[in-house]
C-alpha cells in the first residue's frame, strides 16, 4: 500500500493491512477507522484512516503513538454475472486497453483498479446489453501515455482476429491522451476493415456519476449496431452535454482540449456522423458499408521514425543526431509548413541519406504548401515532402507504416501522398 518504509514496517509488525480496523492513539487524540492506502501526496509520517462517518483523515504518527488492530477486513467476493447472448442482437467485442474509461474505483479505499472482466466494463452501463451481445477481452491495462507501437500492433491483430471470428463490431475503450494516435495506427493497419472498429474514451472517470464513459460507450454500441459503416472511428461527446455525440474518422481526429467532454474534434473534415441521446444517427456524407469480407491486417512499422515540432530559433545542431538516426522524420512546421533557414540543410542531409522528411503544419487546419514562400521552395529542393492536410500525428503514424510496408522510399512517398483511410484530402470547402 506504499506507505513509507518506517510506517510499512510499523503496520506490518501489527499485521495491519488495507481495510484493517485500527485504533490510533496519538498525542492525546484517539481515532478509530479503517486503514486506507497511502495517498501519494501525503506526508511520509501520516496514516490515512476512514472514519465511521465516511471521512478520511490523515493522522501523524509519532514515536509515542499507539496503534492497535481492532478487526481484520473481510475479503469481498465480486460476483461475475453470466449473461446468455440473445440471437436477435449483434455481437460486439470490447477490447480493453486501460485508461480512464476502463477503470473503476474501490469505494472502500478509493483506489483505482483496471477493469479486468466483461462485467467490470459493462457494469458501468448495464443497458448496453439491450443493444447488443457484449463480450469483453482485456488486452492491456495501461494509461494511454504508456502506449507504444508494440501495443498498436498487438491491438490491430486482436481486432482482426475477433472480426474474422465473427464479431459484428469492435469497441475499444482507450485512454484519451493518445487515442488519436492509436486510432490512426489501426486505420492503416486494418486497411479496408469490413466492420466498424470504434474507439471510445472518457474525460471523467467512470467512478463518477457524471462520467461520460457510459454515454459514450452506449453511443458507440448504437453506432455499431445501426450505423452500417465499416472503418476505424472515434466516438466521444460533441458538446459538454450528455445529449450529443460525434463519430470521427480515426485518422482525422485530435484531442483539442485538456479536460472538456467534447475535447475530440475532426480536423479539416466534418465528423462522419452525429448521434443524439436517443441513439438517432445523422450522417454527414457517404462511406463504406459493412461487409462479410475477411479483414487483412498489416502491422509492420518502421520504429525509427520521429515527430518534431518546429519552433523559432530551432537549432539544427540539437536535432542532427536524432534526425540522422531516423528513417522517417515528420516535422510540424509553422504556417504553410515552414522551418527556419538553418534547418533546411539538415533536411537535405537527411533526405540525401535516404530518409523521408514529411512536412505538416502546426496550424492543423488547412493544407501545407511549400510553393508560396522562398523557405518553402528551399525545403522542397532539400527533399522535404508535404501530405496535403494530414494531421502531424497521423503523418507520423502513417510514415512508420508506409516505410515498413513498401519496397522502396519512392513507393513509400507515393503511399504518403495517397489517402488510404480518409486521412488527407486535396479539397476543402467553406461551410455555407
Amino acid at each position: 500500500m506504499s506507505y513509507s518504509a518506517a510506517l510499512s514496517k510499523l503496520l506490518g509488525s501489527i499485521s495491519a493491512k488495507e481495510g484493517s480496523m485500527l485504533n490510533i492513539d496519538s498525542h492525546g487524540q484517539t481515532f478509530t477507522g479503517t486503514l486506507m492506502p497511502h495517498n501519494e501526496s501525503s506526508a511520509p509520517d501520516v496514516i490515512v484512516l476512514k472514519m465511521k462517518s465516511g471521512y478520511n483523515v490523515g493522522i501523524r504518527v509519532h514515536d509515542d503513538s499507539a496503534i492497535k488492530v481492532l478487526d481484520q477486513p473481510i475479503e469481498r467476493v465480486k460476483k461475475e454475472i453470466e449473461v446468455e447472448p440473445k440471437k436477435s442482437l449483434k455481437n460486439i467485442v470490447l477490447i480493453g486497453t486501460g485508461g480512464t474509461i476502463a477503470s473503476y474505483v474501490d469505494y472502500r479505499t478509493g483506489a483505482v483498479h483496471p477493469a479486468l472482466s466483461t462485467s467490470d466494463m459493462v457494469n458501468a452501463v448495464p443497458e448496453i446489453r439491450d443493444v447488443a451481445n457484449i463480450s469483453a477481452r482485456v488486452l492491456f491495462s495501461i494509461f494511454s501515455e504508456n502506449m507504444n507501437v508494440d501495443h498498436w500492433q498487438e491491438l490491430a491483430k486482436a481486432v482482426a482476429e475477433e472480426i474474422n471470428s465473427g464479431a459484428d463490431a469492435i469497441i475499444i475503450p482507450h485512454g484519451t491522451d493518445t487515442m488519436g494516435y492509436t486510432a490512426a495506427a489501426l486505420s492503416f493497419m486494418l486497411g479496408d476493415v469490413s466492420k466498424p472498429v470504434v474507439f471510445v474514451g472518457a474525460q471523467r472517470s467512470s467512478d463518477r456519476p457524471s462520467s461520460d464513459a457510459s454515454s459514450n460507450l452506449l453511443a458507440a454500441a448504437r453506432f455499431c449496431v445501426k450505423g452500417d459503416r465499416a472503418g476505424v472511428f472515434v466516438i466521444m461527446h460533441d458538446t459538454p452535454g450528455d445529449d450529443s455525440f460525434a463519430v470521427h474518422t480515426g485518422s482525422r481526429v485530435r484531442k483539442m482540449h485538456t479536460s472538456r467532454r467534447d475535447a475530440f474534434h475532426s480536423i479539416n473534415v466534418p465528423p462522419v456522423a452525429y448521434i443524439d441521446k436517443d441513439g438517432n444517427i445523422e450522417f454527414t456524407g457517404e462511406g463504406r458499408h459493412v461487409s462479410t469480407e475477411k479483414t487483412e491486417v498489416r502491422t509492420n512499422m518502421e520504429k525509427n521514425t520521429i515527430l518534431l515540432q518546429f519552433y523559432p530559433g530551432m537549432d539544427p545542431a540539437l536535432f542532427e543526431s536524432a534526425i540522422m538516426k531516423s528513417k522517417g522524420i515528420v516535422i510540424a512546421g509553422s504556417g504553410l509548413g515552414h522551418v527556419n533557414e538553418n534547418m533546411v540543410p539538415l533536411i537535405k542531409k537527411a533526405t540525401d541519406n535516404g530518409s523521408v522528411v514529411v512536412i505538416t503544419s502546426q496550424c492543423l487546419n488547412g493544407q501545407t504548401n511549400l510553393n508560396v514562400y522562398n523557405t518553402g521552395r528551399d525545403m522542397l529542393v532539400a527533399g522535404a515532402m508535404t501530405v496535403h492536410d494530414m494531421l502531424p500525428e497521423t503523418a507520423y503514424v502513417k510514415l512508420m507504416w508506409a516505410l515498413a510496408n513498401t519496397k522502396n522510399i519512392e513507393t513509400a512517398k507515393e503511399v504518403m501522398k495517397t489517402p488510404i483511410a480518409g486521412e488527407s484530402s486535396d479539397r476543402r470547402t467553406i461551410d455555407v
Binding site: V46, N56, V57, G58, S119, D120, N123, S259, K277
Partner: protein, 622 residues
C-alpha cells in the same frame, strides 16, 4: 438512553464563507440571470461489490435529466464539471482552521477532501467535495457546555430553478461556494436552547470576519427527537428566531403520534393489508371538484379500507392528525392529496357519497375508516400505498424522516432519513498537511471572541453592557463602531440597536432585511440633518419592508425644516391657543409639546422644539 428529558436536539449549521469559490477563482455570489442549458445525466455508480443501487438505477432509467445554467463571473468550466478542481482556496481553509480553533476542536493532522455521492443533480459531478477539518470542540451557552462533533469544509450545491417534466433546471452560481459545516452533539433540551446555541455559533462564525451575511448564507438543519419518538431531520431552516417554534411543533407532533399509537394499541388495531378497491362508479355523479377533475382526466377513484383507524386521522378537536401525515406521504407520488373518512363529508363530497362508500366497503363499525384518492390509476394506487404504509407505521410509533420546514413553523414530510453517505477520496485534490507552526500562528492570532468585543465597545464608546451584548449578538459591532467613529453617534446607535430593533422585531419586522450599508447611509443622512433622530423608528419600519431610503424620507414627510419654518409652525400653534397660554403662562409648554411634535416630529428634535416653543410663548405673554 435516559428519559428524564422532554426532547433532545442537535444542530447542523452550514455557513457560506466570504471568499472566492472553494476550487476555482470564480466569485462566490448569486446572479439574477442564467444562460445556457447543458444537459446532463447522473448515473448511479457501481458499489465496491460491483452492484448498482437498484432504486437509483430505476430513477436513472426513467430518463431523469438535468440542465445547467451558467452565470457571468460566477461559473467556469470547474462548475460545469468540465475541468478538474483547482487548489483549495487558501482563505477558506484558513477560516475553517481559525473557526475550529475558536471551538477548541482538535484539528486533523492532514485534511483530505472526499467525494460524497449525491445524484439529485445539485452537483454537476455527482458528488459533493467535503473534508473533515476538526472534531471534538465545544461551546459554552448560558453556562452549559454544548459539544461540537465536527467541523467540515465543503462546497455548496447548485440552485434549483425549476422542474419541468423529467428535467430539473439548476443554476451553477451557488455551486462551489465554500461552506463551513458545524455539527453539534444532541445536547440541547429545550426549544429556546436550540436558538441560543444557533445564535452563539453564528456569532463565533461572524467573529472570523470571513463569512457571508444575509438571507440564504446560513442554513440550519435540526435533528430532533423525544423519548420513544424518533430522530427527525428538519432541513434548511433559514430564520433563527423561528427555531424554537419549529422545535416545539416537532416535539408536539411526535407526542401526538405517540398518543395515536397508544389509542390504536388500546383498540387492538392491526396493520391493514393494502387492498386497492376501484370505487369510481360510486362517485360518477359527484360534484367535488377534485373528483370531477380526476374523472374527466380519465382517472379513477381508488379506496383502501382502514379498520381501526377512525378518529386518529383527524380527531379529538384536531389534536390527532395522522391523516395529514398520510397525505404528506401520498403527495410525494405526485397527487394533490387524499381524502380520509375523518374529514368527510367535506371538499364537495356530500354525506350521500360517504354513506354509499361506507356501505360498499362494509366499513360500518365504530372504528372503521377508509382513505380514497382520485387520480390516474397508477398515481392513485402509488399514493395510497404510501398513505396506508404510513398509517400502519403509526402502530409502531414515529418514523425517522427528513422533513422540510414550512413558513408557519410546522414542517412536512420530504423523504426517509438518508443512509450512511457513500464517500471516497477526491483524488484530484491533494491532502493538506496542517503544520504545528501554522496552528501556533493561528492560535496566537485568534479573532476577538464576542465577550471581548462587548468589553471593548463598552469601554471605548461608553455604552452599557446590555447595549453591547445586543450589538454583538446580532453582529452589528463593526457597523456600530463605524457609526460611532465617523459620526460620533454612539449613544443614538446603541439605543437604536437595543431598543428600536427589539421593538420592531417584536412587531414582526425582519431587521436582517436592512443591510449594514443602508443603516450606515441612514446615519450619514441623519448627520446631515436630513431628518431628526426621532424619525429613526418610523424610517426603519419602511426600510425593513424594502423601501428605498430616499423614497421613505419623502413618503414619511421627514425632510427636516429649517429653523425659520419651525418657528413659523410653532408660532401658528401658539397663536391658535392664545387664551390657553395666557391662562397658564410657561406651564403651557408641557401640554403644547403634543401638538408641536405632532406637526414637527422627525423634522426637528424634541429639545429644539421645546426651546422654540418656550421662546414663542415668552414672546406672546411678554
Amino acid at each position: 438512553m435516559s428519559e428524564d428529558y422532554e426532547m433532545m436536539c442537535g444542530i447542523e449549521i452550514h455557513q457560506q464563507l466570504d471568499t472566492k469559490k472553494l476550487f476555482c477563482s470564480c466569485e462566490s455570489c448569486l446572479c439574477e440571470e442564467g444562460v445556457g442549458a447543458y444537459y446532463r445525466r447522473l448515473r448511479p455508480t457501481t458499489s465496491e461489490t460491483g452492484e448498482v443501487d437498484r432504486a437509483a438505477l430505476a430513477q436513472f432509467q426513467r430518463d431523469m435529466g438535468f440542465r445547467y445554467q451558467c452565470s457571468e463571473g460566477t461559473t467556469c468550466l470547474v462548475e460545469l464539471d468540465e475541468e478538474p478542481p483547482h487548489e483549495i482556496n487558501a482563505d477558506a481553509m484558513e477560516t475553517s482552521l481559525v473557526f475550529s480553533t475558536m471551538l477548541g476542536a482538535n484539528i486533523i493532522d492532514e485534511i483530505q477532501f472526499m467525494r460524497k455521492i449525491v445524484v439529485d443533480g445539485s452537483n454537476t459531478s455527482g458528488f459533493q467535495r467535503t473534508s473533515l477539518v476538526a472534531t471534538d470542540g465545544s461551546i459554552d451557552v448560558n453556562g452549559k457546555k454544548i459539544g461540537i462533533l465536527s467541523v467540515c469544509l465543503e462546497e455548496d450545491a447548485a440552485r434549483k430553478i425549476e422542474t419541468k417534466g423529467n428535467e430539473i433546471l439548476y443554476r451553477l452560481d451557488r455551486l462551489g461556494i465554500p461552506l463551513i459545516e458545524i455539527a453539534t452533539a444532541p445536547d440541547m433540551r429545550t426549544p429556546e436552547e436550540v436558538m441560543e446555541v444557533a445564535y452563539r455559533i453564528g456569532m463565533l462564525l461572524r467573529a472570523t470576519k470571513r463569512v457571508k451575511r444575509g438571507i440564504g448564507t446560513i442554513r440550519e438543519d435540526l435533528n430532533i427527537s423525544i423519548p420513544n419518538g424518533a430522530r427527525i431531520e428538519l432541513k434548511g431552516v433559514q430564520e433563527l428566531r423561528m427555531l424554537p417554534e419549529f422545535v416545539q411543533n416537532e416535539v408536539n407532533r411526535q407526542k401526538m403520534l405517540l398518543n395515536v399509537r397508544e389509542i390504536l394499541t388500546k383498540r387492538g388495531t392491526k396493520a391493514v393489508p393494502v387492498e386497492m378497491i376501484d370505487v369510481t362508479d360510486i362517485f360518477k355523479t359527484s360534484e367535488s371538484k377534485v373528483i370531477k377533475g380526476a374523472l374527466d382526466d380519465k382517472g379513477k377513484v381508488i379506496a383502501v379500507k382502514l379498520p381501526g383507524f377512525a378518529g386518529v386521522m383527524n380527531g379529538n378537536n384536531k389534536t390527532l392528525r395522522l391523516g395529514s401525515e398520510m397525505a404528506q406521504y401520498a403527495r410525494t407520488k405526485g397527487v394533490k392529496g387524499i381524502f380520509h373518512s375523518d374529514e368527510l363529508p367535506n371538499y364537495g363530497i356530500e354525506q350521500k357519497y360517504v354513506d354509499d362508500l361506507k356501505n360498499f366497503l362494509g366499513m360500518i363499525g365504530e372504528f372503521d375508516a377508509f382513505v380514497i384518492c382520485a387520480a390516474k390509476e397508477k398515481k392513485a394506487t402509488d399514493a395510497l400505498q404510501m398513505a396506508v404504509d404510513r398509517a400502519n407505521y403509526a402502530l409502531l410509533g414515529v418514523p425517522e424522516e427528513t422533513r422540510d420546514p414550512l413558513p408557519d413553523g410546522t414542517s412536512k414530510y420530504s423523504r426517509p432519513l438518508p443512509g450512511a453517505a457513500r464517500m471516497y477520496p477526491e483524488t484530484d485534490v491533494p491532502p493538506t498537511l496542517i503544520t504545528t507552526e501554522r496552528m501556533n500562528r493561528i492560535r496566537a492570532n485568534l479573532p476577538e471572541f464576542p465577550e471581548q468585543i462587548e468589553k471593548r465597545l463598552m469601554k471605548q464608546y461608553g455604552i452599557n453592557q446590555q447595549q453591547a451584548q445586543q450589538i454583538v449578538r446580532h453582529s452589528y459591532d463593526d457597523l456600530f463602531a463605524k457609526i460611532a467613529d465617523e459620526y460620533g453617534m454612539a449613544s443614538v446607535a446603541a439605543t437604536m440597536f437595543l431598543n428600536t430593533f427589539t421593538e420592531l422585531e417584536h412587531d414582526g419586522l425582519d431587521m436582517n432585511a436592512v443591510s449594514h450599508d443602508v443603516i450606515f447611509e441612514m446615519f450619514s443622512m441623519l448627520k446631515q440633518n436630513r431628518f431628526s433622530k426621532e424619525a429613526i423608528p418610523v424610517l426603519l419600519r419602511e426600510l425593513a419592508v424594502g423601501t428605498d431610503i430616499e423614497k421613505a424620507i419623502k413618503k414619511l414627510g421627514l425632510e427636516s425644516v429649517d429653523a425659520d419654518e419651525a418657528v413659523a409652525i410653532i408660532a401658528k400653534i401658539v397663536k391658535e391657543r392664545e387664551d390657553f397660554i395666557r391662562s397658564k403662562g410657561l406651564d403651557a409648554i408641557g401640554p403644547l409639546m403634543g401638538p408641536v411634535m405632532g406637526a414637527l416630529r422627525g423634522k426637528i428634535d424634541g429639545k429644539q422644539a421645546n426651546d422654540l416653543l418656550a421662546q414663542e410663548i415668552t414672546k406672546l405673554i411678554g
